[in-house]
Symmetry: C2
Subunit: 213 residues, 2 copies
Amino acid sequence: MNRVADRLIETLKQEIHTGVLKPGDQLEEATLAQRFAVSRTPVREAVRSLVDSGLLETRSRKGAFVRALSAKELIDLFEVAAELEGLACRLASERLTEQSRELIVLGMETCADAAEREDVTAYASANLQFHRAIHRATGNAWLIEQLAEIETRVNPYRSMPYSIRGRLPQSAKEHADILQAISNGDGTDAARLMRDHMMLQGKRVPLLLQHIE
Amino acid sequence: MNRVADRLIETLKQEIHTGVLKPGDQLEEATLAQRFAVSRTPVREAVRSLVDSGLLETRSRKGAFVRALSAKELIDLFEVAAELEGLACRLASERLTEQSRELIVLGMETCADAAEREDVTAYASANLQFHRAIHRATGNAWLIEQLAEIETRVNPYRSMPYSIRGRLPQSAKEHADILQAISNGDGTDAARLMRDHMMLQGKRVPLLLQHIE
DNA sequence: TATCTATTATATGGATACAGATAAAATCAA
DNA sequence: TTGATTTTATCTGTATCCATATAATAGATA
C-alpha cells in the first residue's frame, strides 16, 4: 500500500526493537532521507507514525528522539501487561484447541531447554514464543494487538542483566505451571499464575533501567 | 507543535465520535483539503494518523473510509475493556485519594440523577464521567490512555437503543455498588463488579450493531 | 568576564508539482 | 445486448520548494 513509508516504519521499529537505536538517540529527517535514499516526505510520515505510536518523541525543532521511558511509565506498562497477559491465559484456557495447545507446549519446551543450557539469548526469544502462542490462542485480535504493542515498547529495556540468569529455571517452571492450568481449563488459576509471573518482572524495573544506560 | 495536522485530527476524531461521520463514510484527501482550506500535506498526515489508530481504513485508490467494526471486533474490544475497567477499579481502590473519590462520587450521582429522569443523553455523558473518574484515580497513565482509545473506538456504536432505557436505574445501581467497593478498599470485589457491569454491555453488541445501520 | 541581545543558520511544517497505478467508463466485437 | 478490452480520468504516493520558528553563536555592553 504505502510502500516506502511503511518500509521505513518497519525498519525503524526493528532497529529500535533490536537496540540498534537506543532510547535517547536522535533521528533527523534529512539524514534518514539520505540514508534510505528517499525524499523527506515518506520519512516524515514514518517519523510521525512512530511518534503517534509512542516509540519516538519530538523536541521542538530538534528532531525526533527514540523515546526513553521513565521508571514510572515502565511500571504502569507492566501493570497493564500483567493484567492483559492474565486475561489472555483465561481466554486461552476457555478456547484452547489442540493446535494452539501444541504451539504453547512448544514454546514452553523451548524455554525449558534454553533455561537448562542457561542460554539467555535463546531464553529471551523462547519466552516471546511462549507468550505469543498464548496470545494467539485467545482468538481476540484486539488483545493480541495490544499485547504486541506493549511488547514493542518494553522490549528495548529487556536486555537481561546477569542477575536474572539465576531465575531462568524458576521462570521456566512457572511457564510449565501456567500451561498446566490452561490445559486443565482452569482459567482463573491460569490468569492468577500469569499475573504473578509478570509482576515478578515488573519488580525488576529499576534493574532494567539501570542496565540500559 | 504540528498545528494544522493536529487540528485536523482533533476535528475528524470529534466528527467520528459524535456521529457526524458514520462508519462507512468516505473521506477524500482533496475534498478535505478544500474543506479546511489547507494543502494535502497536513490532510495526509491526519488521515494517516487516523488510519494508524484504527478509526479509518484505506481501500486501494478509493480513499479513506470511517472504519466499521464487525460484531467480532466489538466483542473483542468489550472483552479487553471489561478487564481493563476491572483493573482500573482495583488500582483505584488501592490508591484512592479524597479528591479522586469525590470526582467518582460526583459521576455516580450525576448518573443516578439522569437515570431517575430517564434522560438517555445525559446518562450517556454522566456514564463517561463516572468511568473516567475511576480511570484517573488509578494514576496509571498508560491504562488511562488505553481506556480512552477503546472509548473512542466503541463510542460511534453507542447511540442507545430504546431497549436500554429500562436498564438505566439498574446500571446506576451497579455504579453505586462499584463505588462502595472502591471506597471500602475492596479491590477484588470492585474489579469483579465492574467486569460484570461491562460484560452486560458486551452482551448487547448485536443490538448496538443493529441500531447503527 | 559574564550576561543579554541580535543575527544567522538550520530543521521542521506546509504548499505545490509530478508520476504512477487503478478504477470506471466507453467503445467495439461477438 | 452483453462482455471484454482499451482508454481516460482521478486519486494516491513521492519529490521539491518555500516560509517560519527556534536554537546556537557571536558580539556588545555592563
